[in-house]
Symmetry: D2
Subunit: 379 residues, 4 copies
């Protein structure tokens, strides 16, 4: 049996999620290859050693450069802060490694394009960690749309709102600094809903007009709470969009939306029905079909179960629920199987990651220039 | 005790709602005047007679002109199709009558301005039937915002979506004809959410950029179903807006939104909390307060009750529910009491009706010109 | 056109609800007779005069005995506290009046039986004010069950929980005194859900075993808050029941159920589907059908609308909502039309009121004797 | 570092769940011992080999007897059909092994008592797989109750309803056969809600009166669908209960409740508040507090997050959700840490498993004898 040997860079929030998914994936799914937790990098050898032990990796290093050139690593998994994605990915690609990067792919669409083109040229396989589309519930939504069950889609409304910066006295961190994060909530959160919209509709966003605001313009310096530093990117943004087929859409995002803990949501209206979903109830899809008996019409709450994509690998009873890390486990399954396949079926890959960045940059540009922007104007 | 004598023009959908509200208002509320159902007009004397009997009006006529000049009528209540509002209102004003008109006030902001200015000059009192703001639940939302309980409002998301034209083979009616209806779903539905946003925030909308579509471009001729006629106005529209104080907002509207039967809804985000509401659950307000114990935070579902505005007049027990016509009954109470008051406390009056029309026209213009429009550019 | 002349006794909570319903009924519905608000009684002539004016009644009196023998009264409407129902009803019946009584019909099943038998012997028509079954949504539930859409009903779960006495320091009132109220929450609240279960299933309850508790055993004397008086009846009760056809059921009731403002609810399970409802969302019925595509199954939320029983008289658009008093308005329509009909179609009449009292007494007896009680053992 | 070496017997539905939990537990939690997947048994060596590979176990066998006496096994994990629990557990205990058994502990309370007493005498540690109480959301409910936030608990309503046998033509399987399953839905499903009620209230159930039915009395023979075999145990059951402190409760269970996929739910009423939960929304707890401002009262929806028990190990962001297998992962953490601890903190252990069986048997007996049963009358 073939092997897929992982080189993980970064073990924070999302790195830990990857580790849990790596741990359970071989038991949950019949994988096409043996998954080997080969090498792990952190900022110091000490932290790397601790995490390698915790996550079950064989070797560790305090320098990610060791990993990108290690002959026993097949794929470099990038879980670092955003600003490092580019350098690590380009180095990995230069060494012929496949690359699995967290989102957003890069700080700008221009950088994302470089990365996508480098990977394409090198012939390596890529994957971007937009894991929410791997949720069986959202896969079901995709299936319902693709089969035409709600007719032709005529409107998409999507949000990714959270409230992690709702308190104006939460100290400034890298998310608020341009050179570390790039965009604000657009890059951190809206990346998901933009990508998800394209996945669900099977259509790219072509034109956008947005509006944005930095509501909390200064935050305490984490190293000196008496001092306040400038927040360099947006707290909230909204955009009207048009998909390639002319379908209208609206995207909203905020990192200061009081009460939203995981407010990734969509309402998709078709000519024959409507789908509605929120990630806070990740095992429920609401479906309305207009052609039913008019006296019995209504939104139906479907609880995800074994008849829906990928669910049965976690549990064979409906409505028992899958969790946050399970989505990443589906992603890992996709990664492993694709890396040992003769075909490249990985999605969403760096090309998609670049296209998402382009939409986000276009929204930011449209806010600045106060006009509709054709996405192709960017990068 | 003083009297308020009503002259009702039009007895269709909303005219019937007025009639029910007139019938119950004196029992529900202690009114400051005796409500007299004086005179009723319909398109034929026969229909007018039938409806006068049904609604309990003393006299009837087949010509609305009789009503606007009748000495025993104090207020002309206009429940006709939209295109007639202007002529009837101007005639009533010319005769010194107070005017109570259904929304939208007119087919265009320019017409609405004429009406507002005429009323102002004549010194008559006016009211526009935006009855949904009279719901105790939405009054409660207003109170929570006004008291600062959710801090400063930083985002408004509102919709008025329905599906009455979702079926592409529903025959064309006057709503789809420009000279009868003016705008499409913007005028028919969005008028409510635009007005409601201004009521709730206590702020006017100042700038807009919108997008719209006529998804179903032809519909069967009701008189010859084989033939299809052109739909002349929009089926769906979305707009980004800015309120006077800089607050961002998004407004969406559709008359083809499968599954939405009364999709008038809002999500209002403040710096300290969030409010969420949908008219389909008109007795529930969801409220999140960010300053609560972080381990016990969550959206609370408040069931409207006697401690909230106006509810106790319908029932003294909480959670027992008020209905569609009850909102209009509150409106009638406001009308009657204001007409016999020395002060003019009527809201929303023709000035507000005009301002709403101006926003709607600005959205339509922004769609056409694909640019941000300052509302003051219009009319 | 015939007339139905009302003699109203009692103008408190529910009397006011009747008054509002009388006011709007002729406008809402095409009634088969003219509704005349003839005579009103309260405990003093002064209060009666005030209320007659407020409610639009022609005459008033400080003694209900005047009404039961008045030649111009066709039906006596009893809205007094429970303990007076019997005397007034018997006197009215003795005078050949039709009787419309609020629930519970009497303090005991024995009394209710007297009343039912007297009415039957006198040949007068009767109605008991179980108004919640007149809600279009619950009428829809009845229709779905009767048509067999959820197969054979195999389980009924129903509650009527409120929290009006949840605070242990709410002073004692007549609800807590046996000779004024009879049973506690069973009589006050469970009467509704017991009757509703029989209406919905079309089956009588035949056997019961219950359990009950007076959780707050003393309450402040309203006239001397330092003193605490004994609460004489139950705060909460639960019962297992069997319907005539063998169907299992569970009934729960509480007047101290924190958070329940109008917790009248039911979940009805059939062999092919399930219905679920709560009065706090009185315009929504949840329906699950087991024979649908297994990958698209789920509870559907039906918003009541004009295609459902009686709704269209209030509004012709679905999902716009009807309110608490509207249910009573449907009841008034039933009353008026039945009184001028040659047939007696009134439901629920005194026979049903008696049968409900018998079930409630049987539950109380089963709690006391700690054994299953056949309902026919009672009264 | 110490080791905990697992001997797993059974790899079906719940055995697979254990395997996934074993796989992820060391990454999710800092465990106090090294978890070793030592030995696995299935009904044939071939199946055992396949599953050992799939689940990552070192050794395998076709005979569970090999495991209970293996010197390298510390704990025997029993995931077989119910009727085998007893023999395997007793054999394991006889060999001095700790035992981790799935629920229900045995087919009868008498058997469960034997097992509990054997374990106690042998001094081995035990755990029963009531994993739903390990959900952070239900742990939070326990915490809220224990801290007195809802006052004194006065009523418990709990269900475990599913619909896996709702279709009358689903063939008979072991769940319907007395000698394989013991009780029907009481043993299979109600075991969870009975145990959960005792966990949440910190009180044992002392007295019960129940009612039950086998609605579908015959089912197709799986080996000959033309023939129908007798269903030997109950499809649905309900019981009134009293906890040790006098608190009233109602328990309902069904395996034919159309639409319930994971209908494990509870509503817990206290003197100062109410908690409500359903496993179908396993990341949400509804909480009502009666002492809040009366005009702002309502049920609050708390999304489980890192401030609640155990959640942070899965994800540090609130509202991101944990899944079915994550509950078992918490249980595994409890098992591993307790086995290497000097104290025995395992809960729920065989004593609790026995007490739950006793309640279930008491309910069945009360149905048969149609009377209240004191739980101590049983076994």
């Amino acid at each position: 049996m073939k092997q897929v040997r992982i080189g993980l860079v970064g073990t924070g929030y999302i790195g830990r999620c990857h580790a849990i998914a790596y741990a359970q994936a071989p038991t949950v799914f019949p994988l096409d290859a043996e998954l080997v937790l080969e090498y792990l990098a952190e900022v110091t050898p000490e932290l790397a050693e601790k995490k390698a032990k915790e996550f079950g990796f064989k070797r560790f290093t305090g320098d990610w450069r060791d990993i990108v050139q290690d002959p026993n690593v097949d794929v470099v998994d990038i879980c670092t802060p955003n600003f490092l994605h580019k350098d690590i990915a380009l180095a990995a690609i230069a060494n012929g490694k496949h690359v699995y990067s967290e989102k957003p792919l890069a700080l700008t669409a221009a950088d994302a394009k470089l990365m996508y083109e480098a990977a394409k040229k090198a012939g390596v396989k890529t994957l971007v960690g937009f894991n929410y589309i791997k949720n069986p519930t959202t896969q079901l939504a995709r299936e319902i749309i693709a089969k035409g069950e709600i007719g032709e889609v005529i409107h998409f409304y999507g949000t990714h709102n959270e409230d992690y910066l709702a308190n104006e006295n939460t100290p400034l961190d890298w998310h608020c600094v341009k050179e570390k994060a790039g965009l604000g909530t657009l890059g951190d959160l809206a990346a998901h809903i933009v990508q998800m919209s394209q996945y669900l509709l099977g259509q790219e966003i072509r034109a956008v007009i947005g509006d944005m605001q930095t509501v909390t313009q200064t935050r305490p310096n984490p190293n000196n709470l008496q001092e306040r530093l400038t927040v360099e990117n947006e707290d909230q943004a909204s955009a009207l969009v048009r998909f390639a087929n002319g379908c209208m859409g609206t995207i909203e995002t905020s990192r200061i939306a009081c009460g939203r803990k995981m407010g990734l949501s969509y309402v998709i209206t078709g000519t024959k029905g409507t789908i509605s979903y929120t990630q806070e109830r990740m095992a429920e899809l609401k479906l309305y079909l207009h052609d039913e008996d008019p006296a019995r019409q209504g939104f139906k709450t479907i609880l995800t179960g074994p008849l829906h994509p990928d669910y049965k690998h976690f549990c064979v009873s409906a409505g028992h629920g899958i969790g946050f890390n399970d989505q990443k486990t589906v992603e890992i399954r996709d990664l492993v199987n694709a890396l040992v396949s003769s075909e490249n079926t990985l999605y969403p890959d760096f090309e998609e990651g670049y296209k998402v960045s382009r939409v986000l940059d276009a929204i930011a540009l449209s806010c600045e220039q106060k006009r509709w922007i054709d996405v192709e104007e960017v990068a």
